[in-house]
């Protein structure tokens, strides 16, 4: 056995040179893309010092506490309580204005992906483009492809609907593309599976997954949050299958990460919990009696959480911590997604056979886009891609 080390070093590795070259390029590209830390001049420190002083004042004075809450220092629990107080009573909101563009065109920038029983569509300023009979869809990170499921398959199609790759999988649903593009997670019946972004190396990650779309953790591209049928929400390393975190959460229908990957919302129609994963703490999301959560989405920056709720035949969209809803109307509102710049929210308004666009910042404004010939639900927004 004395020559074991030499024999181990001489064993031929399959594809060694190609693997080294791929890795070398990836590592150098990652190094080139990383921000270089620079010393901050004193002038640049003025703003953080002022903010620290303000927080100190907030901590030491009673009126300051209100300012701290306004700044979000009070944490999600306070913000959620504010929301509950606000959403009990319907408040007048802006009236929706029909978009002037015809043919399901999006009156704003970017491309809105919608999918439902009638298939998947991409809406942009030019109109609506059908991708095919796919009831679920998700953008790739840069909007080059769309991962779709339906008809016993998972596939990647381009925005023109051409199939790039296809994998036969019974009952495939809820595809979610990882932030770095290397993996696509999806459900196949009760199984949670992961496949490389090029359609290869499909594998089982977990059995007994609940019928909830999994959610990749931003900033940790191989960490996947998913809900099990045992009522436990887990974060699993998609490469190794290792469990990184878990919480017992009961019935869950929505999993959503904040943009910085710190907060995970695990919610059901009756409420839920916002977990601060890194600090191992959380805050309950409690809704008013009779109110049901339809959809939730974190803003693409910061910790702003938008909720679509329903109560006594009326639906509304509100931001956690902000007084008053952004929009309120009869019927249901589902499929809430943010525009990439964080200015607008899109939702499906099946009661009115329209997609709704609500301005979340600045002057209130609401626009609508007619779904195909006004025949009820045409599909929920799945993602809004790539403005600018």
């Amino acid at each position: 056995m004395s020559d074991l080390g030499r024999r181990l070093r001489q064993l031929p590795l399959p594809g060694e040179a190609a693997a080294r070259e791929r890795a070398r390029r990836t590592v150098l590209a990652a190094h080139a893309a990383r921000p270089v830390a620079r010393r901050r001049p004193l002038r640049a420190l003025a703003a953080p010092l002022a903010a620290a002083l303000l927080l100190l004042v907030c901590a030491l004075t009673a009126p300051g506490q209100a300012v701290a809450e306004w700044l979000g220092v009070g944490g999600p629990a306070r913000a959620v309580r504010d929301l509950v107080r606000d959403v009990v009573q319907p408040v007048p909101t802006p009236r929706p204005v029909p978009a002037h563009a015809a043919g399901g065109a999006l009156p704003l920038g970017g491309r809105l992906l919608v999918a439902g029983a009638r298939g998947a569509w991409v809406l942009d300023r030019a109109g609506a483009h059908r991708l095919g009979a796919w009831p679920a869809a998700t953008w790739s990170p840069r909007g080059v492809y769309v991962a779709v499921t339906g008809g016993g398959a998972l596939a990647a199609v381009d925005p023109a609907g051409r199939v790039h790759w296809r994998l036969a999988r019974a009952h495939a649903a809820d595809p979610r593309w990882a932030p770095d593009g290397t993996h696509v997670a999806y459900r196949s019946g009760r199984e949670l599976r992961v496949v490389y972004g090029n359609g290869t190396h499909d594998r089982l990650l977990a059995r007994r997954a609940a019928p909830v779309a999994p959610a990749w953790q931003p900033g940790a591209p191989h960490a996947l949050a998913w809900a099990g049928r045992d009522g436990v929400v887990r974060i699993t390393d998609a490469d190794t299958g290792r469990e990184l975190w878990h919480a017992r959460g009961g019935h869950v229908t929505v999993l959503a990460w904040s943009a910085d990957g710190r907060r995970l919302l695990a919610a059901s129609p009756r409420g839920g919990r916002v977990h601060d994963v890194s600090a191992h703490r959380g805050a309950a999301l409690r809704l008013a009696r009779g109110q049901r959560l339809e959809s939730a989405a974190w803003a693409p920056a910061g910790h702003v959480l938008a909720l679509a709720t329903r109560s006594r035949g009326r639906a509304q969209i509100a931001l956690v911590g902000r007084r008053g809803p952004l929009f309120s109307a009869a019927g249901r509102l589902t499929g809430l997604v943010w525009s990439p710049d964080g200015r607008w929210l899109a939702a499906d308004w099946p009661t009115a056979s329209q997609w709704l666009l609500v301005r979340a910042r600045g002057r209130p404004r609401v626009e609508t886009v007619a779904t195909t010939r006004g025949r009820g639900a045409a599909g929920r927004p799945q993602g809004w891609c790539c403005v600018g």
């Binding site: 056995m1 074991l4 080390g5 024999r7 181990l8 070093r9 001489q10 064993l11 031929p12 590795l13 399959p14 594809g15 060694e16 040179a17 190609a18 693997a19 080294r20 070259e21 791929r22 890795a23 070398r24 390029r25 990836t26 590592v27 150098l28 990652a30 190094h31 080139a32 990383r34 270089v36 830390a37 790759w165 994998l167 036969a168 496949v195 490389y196 359609g199 290869t200 190396h201 499909d202 594998r203 089982l204 990650l205 977990a206 191989h222 390393d237 490469d239 190794t240 299958g241 290792r242």
Partner: protein, 196 residues
Amino acid sequence: VSTEELAVQEAVATAGRVPRTGGRLLSRRSDAALVRAAQRGSADAVEELFRRHWPGAHRAAWLVVHDAAAAEDIAQEAFLSALRALHRFDRRRPLAPWLHRIVVNRAIDFARARALRREAAADAAEPVAPDAPSALDDELLAALAALGPEQRAVVVLRHLLGYAPGEIAAMLGLPRGTVNSRIRRGLDALAEALER
């Protein structure tokens, strides 16, 4: 000739060229000096560190997981993790054990997880690269594959990468006695398999 083959040819052609920084051969600089240069943004320093440490990291991962695509991913992810943490890396400590610890722990996790879950069915797409070499040293590979992932890992750390049992214990978070017994039992099993 495919794009990948061209990339390999290019890599082979440039393998003999050693980058210079400020007139000094990078290959003569210590890991600590290269880490300092990399922290300041030097791509040449990163490339030299990659050249030094990729072969051991990749081989160690492959010997533990016996899966070419997974080994490539594990070793590459270890380098990317190292890059992400480069700004807070303590240069007084050696780089290689830190990197190898990431690689071997991830490889053990992967091998354990694979043992617990069913791999892709026959209708799944082809893997990125073929999984095993065809003939040479098949016996040794088969004997290694028969060990558990933890035993493979300590054998690889001891005999491929040359770490002492105490260092292996620290890397894997195990008592030193456990490492010694795993090495001994691993070597016994290998010897028995190779003598058959």
